[in-house]
Amino acid sequence: MMQRAKWARAFAIASSLVLTSCIYNRQSAVDPAGPQAGRVDTLWWSFFWLLGAIFLIVMILTVMTLGRRHRGFEQEPLAIRHKASDETESQLRRVVTGATIATIVILFVLIVASVGTGKANSELQQKKNPLTIQVTGTQWWWQIQYMNSDPTQNLTTANEIHIPVGRPVQIRGASNDVIHSFWVPNLNGKRDLIPSRITSEWIEADHPGEFRGQCAEFCGLQHAHMAIWVIAEPQAQFDAWMKAQLQPAAAPQTPAQIRGQQVFLNNACMYCHAIQGTPAVGQNGPDLTHFGSRRGIAANTVPNTMGNLAGWILDPQSMKPGNHMATVEVSSTDLQPLVEYLESLK
């Protein structure tokens, strides 16, 4: 009874996982959106079918041995020093030798396929006209820096990467505190972000889309709430986005927004967050220059809406217990202007 309940539960979990992966293909390694992920996908399915077939053959043989005719009670038991006939002996030898050779050959083929995929996806490959983005893992959000030889084209943002379709992108991985891992399954495998060294991997999107990624190395209390969006868009759209992001923050327009900016600059906010074009230059938290244009807040824990933002500012510890955002006392009359100002930073 217990056993049956256990199997039922395992089946329910497995089937829900399969269903989720079908519905939620925006974060899926079996829905590749680029050449790197395509290779990983091919490798996965070739492993799956080959090893699945072997598993099936082994199971069939096991079942066959169970049904094999056995020596009945009416027969004499085997002698203790039983010696198989020469015919049986040579047959057994053939089977065991054949199985050993087959295993070695299959393992070798799998190793070649695996190493080949790793080599093709390797960071050492040189690409033409790459876009370089530095991703710095921080407890518990992602700092994104677009690197350019022209310093006026350098861009700092957070938790959201925009990439042009069809252009190779080199992700330079760094970390500010502990080991994180950058993983956008639709685009490539995992790459660890290690303190005090730079790791690297290539991603490339072959069609537009929004792909979700997540930290894949346990990094503390809020590891689960450390998500990132990669938005692949046509070159023209990407250029427009880049141009808008390189502008300083929009000046506050309405009286509420003007008040909101004052609240921001007169509280602890400015010691950790930067808004380009204002005196706020803190580097400890995400850059908020174009905060209103981003999809989520708190490393995409919740969608970026006014209500969520107000809740987040009032009590950051309710959404993400243990995170490093300070609980700043903002009076009720100041909260609404502050939220309006931040959301106006498109």
Binding site: A268, N284, P321, H324, V328
Partner: protein, 164 residues
């Protein structure tokens, strides 16, 4: 058992500071009690709520760097600002004095942080600064620092003329 209990306390994480536990700061460190140049002994009536909490001491260390205390005081050895690993404090070395110094600022460069950053963070920084001088339980402080430097306890022992 005692060891186990103290370990629990050590790892206690007060992630959402309650305002009541922090509303303890009164008029603890009056300036008129502090005699410049002389021995400092204002009444230490206020205890830091984060004394002995490993989590809050490490948070204090993070904030010490985030808010650029290290810009002037460096990692406690001083440079632009006075050292924080020492015996004789100009404005008092008790938790309440340190809190007061951070809140109000001091002449010749120390900015006032009161109303700028939350009070609970100031107490965490105080807890960390006290730990530099070995004035936190050894069970709550790391046995070695993140950066390359001697153990603060070693420095304190050296200053106090104790050899281990």
């Amino acid at each position: 058992m005692c060891l186990l209990m103290s370990a629990c306390q050590r790892q206690h994480q007060d992630i959402r500071p309650s305002p009541t536990s922090l509303a303890i700061y009164g008029d603890a460190a009056k300036e008129d009690v502090i005699r410049p140049g002389g021995p400092v002994n204002p009444q230490p009536v206020v205890n830091n709520p984060y004394n002995g909490s490993a989590y809050d001491i490490s948070e204090g260390q993070r904030l010490y760097n985030w808010y650029n205390c290290s810009g002037c005081h460096f990692q406690g050895g001083g440079g632009i600002g006075p050292p924080l690993i020492k015996q004789h404090w100009i404005y008092g070395g008790e938790p309440a004095n340190l809190f007061d110094t951070i809140v109000k600022g001091r002449p010749n460069g120390m900015p006032a942080w009161g109303g700028r950053i939350p009070a609970y963070q100031i107490w965490e920084i105080v807890a960390y600064v006290r730990s530099m001088n070995g004035e936190q339980p050894r069970s709550a402080t790391p046995s070695r620092a993140d950066s390359i430097e001697p153990n603060p306890q070693t420095i304190v022992n050296r200053v106090n003329g104790q050899t281990k």
